[in-house]
Chain length 436, copies 2
């Protein structure tokens, strides 16, 4: 990395910042037209997209990447149609920008408003899957933001093709779009270096491996939205319907074991452990799940591997499942709050008081009653698309859609009001009257 | 700093984290009772508070601290009554916790809710003014959070006295309050070390000098709410009523020059500069304001000091005021977005189109039309109290009251729903029906 390249990246980010100011003033009609046109372009240029995607697939094959990972890299006509449909769906959303969240009359002729505005510049660092870029681009456009992408090497050609369509087709057809509103960085070094410029970057969203997210969080001077771990729990309360609980646990574990919202640890009330654990073992055998148990669990299931302290802090991402017997609700909540990652945790219980105490007591972005942890997802929640899942408690928490790409602004509309009239002995009182 | 002290601070913060879980489940009736009782205690223990405050005043006198700074340190019976009234006002607010922000039927028997929850643990690092601690404590209590304070040396005894009342009176009378819900750190080293424990700290709010805020922002691994600079602008548009504009400018500058929302730079359209600048100079002389002007300004006002590039980036915090002539709205907006601190910027204009373009184009937490920048304040906005003013675009922006101390949680209430039913060839569709 030379000084020249540093200079160039800073200049590029400055151009994105300036572009973001123009994006912020786009009308909703214009943003809708751009989104619909982008959908058309994806469909009419599908031959080009598929040809470029094939280069990524060839590179994957040459690197001996096969199976589900290679499958995720593949675009086809049906996927492109889905992407186009997704863009048209987002185009139909109400304009999220300029919504009045608060309106207060401070005094006669002095009105305060709080309105939604775009965040500004969002940096997205992501791995694999060529459909991520257009999906996120649709949310960026609808919210009037500018974006800097860095995709993985494995989708280099597919991402490049998408950006070619943005630059050569979309930007060319809509002069209102500033050139720098959407950029794609080429190198990992540039992506990391971007994190040193908080003046040009309002939010960074890393999507990918635990390692990627942690390296971004450690370096970034700009706020980071995301989650490093997904250590999710299901707690089987004594009041649980055991047969149904088992189905939910198996779905939480095996439906997609590598996902962040997949189950890692089951907690079981001691009163029902002797009845439940043998059923869990049978289902585990049927589904190739490897059980790792606490001492008490192993007293009932001697075949389970012994759990260490590390197991309670592990996101396996595979078919291992740790199992711990607890004395009741309090211990379950304490275990989850201590060892969990505050992502998604559920209780399996028929007792409504236990449900309520669990929902209130567990400190997680998503807390569930009698449902699979795998539901924690922006599409399933009905957000149309998601930019990521946040386990931070500031800004946005849980699956994040359009809301996470917005900020607010206070507008004060006065008639030459001055503060000196509202202080001291003869201070005028404020009215603070809420308006509509 | 020894390993022993590190160990102790981590243990102390862990206790605050655990206390935060109990605070999160306090009923609104309980929080209201605690707040009202705290107000009574402040009044009935005013002799004790004033005696301890006198120790701070004596220390300030011994250190030759006089004038407005010494004045800010002083408590008196009337200030204590105001603090008590503030606590009773906050007690009356609606419970901010547990509000439903979103409710969606995902499918029959599967309901998603987004509800407000406390942030958890908030760290507040502040300087001077003994009334900050009880004011913030009231918001912390109402929002069900736990708090770690670090006050300035100059209010050591006053802050200590407040905390003695919390621990010996309030906590003793309300067994529901866990001991560690409110803590006061003794040393600056501990306050900085706290920033290394994001697992125990959900948000840090530094209040005080630019230097304090920047050192906290640079070190903290937890999110920081606040602002380093307050470089605020007023732009005098060609359509402005010049006499009234001048009054607003003078108020913005002199009403409290050291405040973050005080004016630092005036931008003036070239068309009206010859008419306006001589008026500004007369008012400046009357109010001891020192004008620092661009070349064009000095062509009209030769007595103004010459401005350098640094002046446009300076928060003077005193009676200096920089002045720049601009070619119109676009240059004004660009100057503010480039050199400002995104805190509070105003336009003085009668032309409604210019007003609208300024409000949309300026990227600041507070954007004003014909009003003094000094209105940017939580009390003046009607928030009851403020924990700080944020220039970040994530989480909270502008003056921050109760809203900035809340997070959200998604609750999913199912009937043993599993995700496998909603994927693949025979996938059930989601309903995504908004509920009430």
């Amino acid at each position: 990395m030379t000084n020249t390249s540093t200079h160039t990246l800073a200049q590029q980010l400055k151009a994105v910042r300036e572009a973001s100011y123009r994006m912020a003033t786009l009308s909703d009609a214009k943003k809708t037209a751009v989104l619909n046109r982008f959908a058309d372009i994806l469909e009419s240029e599908s031959t080009f997209l598929l040809a470029e995607n094939q280069k990524d697939l060839d590179a994957a094959a040459a690197a001996n990447i096969t199976g589900p990972l290679a499958q995720r890299l593949k675009l086809d006509t049906s996927k492109i149609q889905q992407l186009a449909q997704g863009l048209r769906d987002v185009a139909k959303f109400d304009d999220p920008v300029g919504k009045t969240l608060l309106k207060t009359l401070l005094d006669d002729g002095l009105t305060l408003e709080k309105v939604t505005v775009p965040l500004g510049v969002v940096g997205i660092i992501f791995e694999s899957r060529p459909d991520v870029l257009p999906q996120i681009l649709s949310l960026i456009l609808k919210t009037g933001n500018a974006v800097v992408f860095k995709g993985g090497r494995e989708t280099k050609f597919s991402n490049g093709a998408m950006m070619t369509l943005v630059k050569d087709k979309l930007n060319a057809e809509f002069p209102e779009l500033p050139d720098a509103w959407a950029c794609l960085l080429e190198s990992r070094e540039e992506a990391l270096e971007m994190l040193d410029y908080p003046e040009y970057l309002d939010l960074v969203i890393p999507r990918g491996s635990n390692q990627l997210v942690q390296s971004v969080m450690a370096r970034s001077k700009a706020p980071v939205l995301g989650h490093a771990d997904g250590i999710c729990h299901q707690y089987v309360h004594a009041s649980s319907n055991l047969d149904k609980a088992l189905e939910v646990i198996i779905d939480s574990k095996i439906q997609y074991p590598a996902a962040c919202n997949a189950l890692e640890t089951v907690l079981i009330d001691d009163a029902i452990a002797p009845a439940f654990l043998p059923q869990l073992q049978l289902a585990a055998i049927d589904n190739d799940i490897i059980l790792i148990g606490c001492e008490q669990t192993r007293a009932i299931l001697p075949d389970a591997q012994p759990a260490t302290e590390d197991d309670w802090r592990s996101e396996y991402g595979d078919l291992r499942l740790s199992v711990k017997i607890v004395s009741g609700l309090d211990e379950a909540i304490q275990h989850i709050n201590t060892y969990g990652s505050h992502h998604t945790d559920g209780i399996l219980a028929e007792d409504s008081q236990a449900q309520a105490l669990f929902l209130a007591g567990v400190d997680a972005a998503n807390v569930y009653v009698n449902a699979s942890t795998r539901f924690a997802d922006g599409f399933r929640y009905g957000f149309g698309a998601e930019v990521g899942i946040s386990t931070s408690k500031t800004h946005a928490r849980g699956p994040v859609g359009i809301d996470g790409l917005l900020s607010t602004k206070y507008r004060l509309l006065g008639s030459h009001h001055v503060v000196k009239d509202y202080v001291g002995q003869s201070a005028k009182p404020f009215k603070h009257t809420p308006l509509s």
